[in-house]
């Protein structure tokens, strides 16, 4: 998936048909059910913490259901993808990029949990790739493309320290 252009309202990518198939495959894996539940607090206890935990779980269930609906509408809408020079042209609003990033990252992290929460990611066996490990790579690739579309400087995160003393 390659960035073509960006303006104040949208980001336009070129995507190969095979990539589109992979994107749909990754998105339709949402949600990855691993039985995992985030904890709201590591050290604090009490009724207010328990109540907050319940509230957040309920909000997350709602969010998950809404995201599933958006994904279903997105993958079924062929009109979004215009044929252009052997590839396809995909225009995304900033809001769409946000929820696509969330969905892809949820699948990436869910796949990682299914692998057993490894500290070091195992190498991908090119001959017989593990489906979860491969899914992580696919999601990561699309996430990187979308982040690059939002801000090309994002490629360099992790390789430099920002200026110190700014605006905190």
């Amino acid at each position: 998936m390659t960035l073509i252009e960006r303006d104040e309202e949208r980001v336009v990518f070129s995507i190969e048909p095979e990539e589109l198939e992979a994107l749909r495959w990754a998105l339709l894996a949402f949600p990855v059910d691993t039985g995992f539940e985030f904890e709201i607090s590591r050290y604090s206890e009490g009724a207010e913490i328990d109540e907050a935990q319940d509230l957040i779980k309920s909000a997350r269930d709602e969010w998950e259901s809404s995201l599933e609906q958006r994904i279903a509408a997105f993958v079924e809408d062929d009109s979004r993808f215009e044929a252009a020079d052997g590839a396809l042209r995909l225009a995304l609003s900033f809001e769409e990029i946000e929820w696509l990033l969330q969905a892809l990252n949820a699948v990436r992290v869910g796949s990682w949990r299914r692998l057993g929460y490894p500290e070091e990611l195992p190498e991908i066996d090119a001959g017989e790739p593990d489906a979860d490990r491969f899914m992580m790579e696919v999601c990561g690739m699309f996430q990187s493309s979308l982040l690059y579309g939002l801000n090309p400087e994002s490629l360099f995160d992790g390789f430099e320290d920002p200026d110190e003393g700014e605006d905190e």
Binding site: R42, I49, Q102, P118, L121, S154, P162
Partner: protein, 99 residues
């Protein structure tokens, strides 16, 4: 002065509860994990808190190098909101009472 008077038709405010939910006594902390991409974490901090890219990146690097970063200190209600947002982006975030 002193003590409290309940006016007819007025429900007295539950002072303890109101105080505990509004006091900015909760830290929102993001913990390191080996799975979230660094540019993604920076992006999430910008989106959730409206921070500049530099500030978001500084906190991302703090999470990466030190294992955690205290992002904000807020009331319980606001802290819940931020933890929910961060967790919906799959970041490992918690709220802790600031004692």
């Amino acid at each position: 002065m002193g003590g409290s008077t309940t006016m007819p038709g007025v429900v007295p405010v539950q002072e303890t509860d109101a105080k505990s939910s509004l006091d900015p006594g909760y830290l929102v902390i993001c913990w390191n994990d080996p799975v979230n991409l660094m540019p993604y974490v920076t992006h999430v901090f910008q989106t959730v808190f409206g921070w500049s890219r530099e500030k978001a990146k500084r906190h991302m690097l703090e999470v990466h190098h030190q294992g955690r970063s205290v992002l904000v200190r807020e009331s319980l209600e606001r802290a819940e909101h931020y933890v929910h947002r961060l967790q919906s982006f799959q970041l490992s975030a918690t709220l802790e009472r600031d004692s």
